[in-house]
Amino acid sequence: MAYSEKVLDHYNHPRNVGSFDKADPTVGTGMVGAPECGDVMKLQVKVNPTTGIIEDAKFKTFGCGSAIASSSLATEWLRGKTVDEALAIKNTDIVNELSLPPVKIHCSVLAEDAIKAAIDDYKKKSSGA
């Protein structure tokens, strides 16, 4: 299978790899997927509590090249966005940006799920729940 230039670029130079402290109240963590399915994404956002802007994002992904690229791209897009803007990111945006073939669309869906899960986690924490 041929990979798009952008997928290869993210695979070879993944952006924002790493982890934040899950216990930090300004950090939201989303972990989606399952090892049995061949992909697990962990995506974290660090939000400025006064402005609501995502100041930093990090990821770690177990999965194929397209899954790695989707989550790497997601962290790039998340930085500088407000929490609400982040929720507007759609998997189809990722598909278009990375030119993912049909068999890899689930990777983009997973990335969208990871964004939502991370933001949810942050919101729960910041509302003091």
Binding site: Y11, P35, G38, V40, C64, I68, V103
Partner: protein, 404 residues
């Protein structure tokens, strides 16, 4: 070194230049139909195919008349299994095979189930071997055939063929073995192994694609088959169709070379394979070898790098041609059924790489491959949330995953 490095010899092999040279005259100068009885063109072609028959027979301990030429091992498996099922219908309808057989066997059996066959698919032990007692217990008075492969194409595990052959003979059941991966790599002897039908492929042993053979025992017992391709009655009526003379010459030459060079070559393969294995195991933690190392082809290594997904690993080693059991590399979206049959979790199956070494690999290549794989696995583990969790002491089997 030339790139990409080919280390997928279980998929296919390049033709040995000596095989190519042997075949060359049979495309243009010596082009006769081996079935033409009235002129020298036909006689020459027939002489060539008879020589090949002897070369093949000699490698597997058979006689020339017991070799039936086919288009490859898939056809050989079809002919053996369907041919026995139809020919011996009066005796019974039960066939025993194993869950890790090649699809050419499994799908043939599935096909026969629709025609009234009862098939037992033996489960495998975690080391990749069949449980001999289970096989013994599975035989009934309706059993007409046991079909167990000699060496597995993914994990290279060698089944206890001689024991199975002995049991089959004692119980009066025919024994077919798909020896596609074994012939030319390890000693195969249909006499001492009590094999009644044996499938062979040329392109897995440095011969051409599109040609293979089926050994069909003629004595003790004389095995009969219902033909699957009707026509001119070639190959003693078992497989009609004009013989592929150049291909057959190639298969014969490939067998002759294998017979001569196997002792030396299998030692060299085992040395290179073990070097690769030892280097990977020394440099990386959480690495699992799939299938026993004890009963295994000398050129096979199937290994899982936990917490690293197979396709992403292949992407990182894209100057090396190998296979992965990961679903992401296949059209089916199911990880390797062979590894699953060994009881491996889907995560281990997703993380597996099959290395198949061969005649033209060098030690320099093995060193390069080992270093490259180690480097990419380390890089991907840096990226892997699973490896991070493992390092934190989290038991991944206890985590509630959001399956999708």
């Amino acid at each position: 070194m030339k790139f990409p490095i080919y280390m997928d010899y279980h998929a296919t092999t390049p033709m040995d230049p000596r095989v190519f040279e042997a075949m060359r005259p049979y495309f243009t100068e010596i082009f006769g139909n081996a079935a033409s009885r009235n002129h020298s063109f036909g006689w020459q072609a027939e002489d060539a195919t008879e020589k090949a028959r002897k070369q093949i027979a000699s490698l597997i301990g058979a006689t020339a008349k017991e070799i039936v030429f086919t288009s490859g091992a898939t056809e050989s498996n079809n002919l053996a299994i369907k041919g026995v099922f139809q020919m011996y219908a009066e005796k019974g309808n039960h066939i025993i095979t194993a869950a890790t057989e090649h699809k050419a066997t499994l799908d043939t059996c599935k096909h026969l189930e629709k025609e009234g066959a009862r098939i037992t698919y033996l489960p495998l032990q975690t080391n990749g071997l069949i449980d001999f007692e289970q096989l013994r217990a599975a035989i009934t008075d309706k059993t007409i055939l046991i079909s167990i492969m000699y060496a597995n194409n993914e994990i290279g595990v060698l089944q206890p063929i001689a024991e199975i052959g002995k049991l089959a003979k004692e119980r009066g059941v025919l024994f077919h073995s798909d020896a596609t991966q074994a012939v030319g790599k390890v000693p195969v002897n249909v006499l001492t192994d009590n094999i009644d039908l044996l499938s062979i492929s040329a392109h897995k042993m440095y011969g051409p694609k599109g040609v293979g053979a089926l050994y069909v025992r003629r004595k003790g017992p004389r095995v009969q088959l219902t033909a699957q391709i009707d026509g001119g009655g070639h190959e003693r009526g078992m497989r009609s169709g004009t013989l592929n003379v150049p291909g057959i010459v190639g298969l014969g030459e490939a067998c002759a070379i294998a017979q001569k060079e196997m002792p030396e070559e299998s030692k060299r393969m085992a040395y290179l394979r073990d070097k690769l294995k030892d280097r990977l195991l020394a440099a990386l933690d959480e690495v699992y070898i799939n299938g026993t190392m004890e009963h295994r082809l000398p050129n096979n290594l199937n290994i899982s790098f936990a917490f690293v997904e197979g396709e992403s690993l292949l992407m990182g080693i894209n100057d090396i041609a190998v296979s992965s059991g990961s679903a992401c590399t296949s059209a089916t979206l199911e990880p390797s059924y062979v590894l699953k049959a060994l009881g491996a979790g889907d995560d281990i199956a997703h993380s597996s790489i099959r290395f198949g070494l061969g005649r033209f690999n060098t030690e320099e290549e093995v060193d390069y491959v080992a270093a490259k794989v180690i480097d990419v696995v380390n890089k991907l583990r840096e990226l892997s949330p699973l490896y991070e969790m493992h390092k934190e002491g989290i038991d991944l089997s206890k985590v509630q995953w959001t399956a999708h």
